[in-house]
């Protein structure tokens, strides 16, 4: 059973550090497993965290991922300093991407990341200022909405 305590933490992410992509999501997954969070929730958190991580690495100078694990929900917050997003509505459309070739060659930058995050969140918010950075927050409830 999930414990009643509240847990939070923060990870630092360096832009362009593709070697470490996935480390934060992997840590998150471990943490949630230890806390007895249901597997369906862990699966969604892993997708959200991985995409958020890859976005910071691909488009930002640096950023952070914060997590809050409450008795009823897991919240992931990604904040970065970097290119930001000109048109959020467009960026949320599957297939739209501003990724350069080096990112695409690795199989990233297909324009599916933000849509993946949104589709696997119960609550999703994103704000961005071009040339400053992007902030996104995803909440996943332990027992559905």
């Amino acid at each position: 059973m999930p414990s009643e305590e509240y847990l939070e933490g923060i990870y630092q992410i360096q832009g362009r550090d593709f070697v470490d992509a996935g480390i934060v999501s992997s840590e998150m997954k471990k943490k949630l497993k230890e806390k007895g969070i249901p597997e369906s929730v862990i699966r969604r958190v892993a997708i959200v965290t991985f995409e958020a991580e890859v976005n910071i690495i691909s488009y930002a100078e640096h950023g952070t991922i914060r997590y809050y694990i409450a008795p009823d929900a897991v919240t992931i917050e990604a904040n970065d300093v970097g290119a930001g997003i000109e048109d959020i509505e467009l960026a949320l459309q599957e297939g739209y991407s501003t990724a350069d070739d080096s990112i695409r060659e690795m199989g990233f930058g297909a324009g599916m990341g933000l849509a993946n995050i949104k589709n696997h969140s119960d609550e999703f918010e994103i704000t961005s200022v071009p040339d400053e950075g992007t902030n996104l927050r995803s909440t996943i409830y332990l027992n559905g909405k």
């Binding site: 593709f18 996935g22 999501s25 892993a46 991985f50 599916m112 993946n116």
Partner: protein, 113 residues
């Protein structure tokens, strides 16, 4: 069906994590876009891809795939194999194109009993 059966029946080469070839494969996913694989593949899948860089290991590990098969005679990067070893994700290679290999695996899993 185990990964080992697929490797043996189709004459594939295992490059890493032989000890994990007993992993049960309960389906597969083919794709080269990491977000697509991240969003749509399932635990226990064998993942067939043309990507060779180390981020495929992160995806396979997060999704708890049975293993990765790299197609078209491509070789995994050295750091891909190192990371796969660390994470315990079998990396297998095939000379076949993605379409043909997936067809063979599908046939083996569904019609060869």
């Amino acid at each position: 069906m185990t990964l080992e059966t697929i490797v043996n029946e189709l004459g594939l080469k295992c490059k890493c994590c032989w000890e994990k070839l007993g992993n049960e494969v309960d389906g597969g996913y083919a794709g080269d876009l990491l977000s697509d694989v991240m969003g749509n593949s399932k635990k226990g899948n064998v993942w067939v891809t043309r990507q060779v860089h180390l981020n495929i290991v992160a995806v396979a590990s997060l999704k708890e795939h049975a293993g990765i098969i790299i197609v078209q005679g491509a070789s995994p990067d050295k750091d891909t194999l190192e990371k796969a070893q660390k994470e315990g994700i079998p990396i297998i290679v095939s000379d076949l194109p993605e379409f043909e290999l997936v067809g063979k695996i599908y046939h083996l899993m569904h019609f060869s009993r």
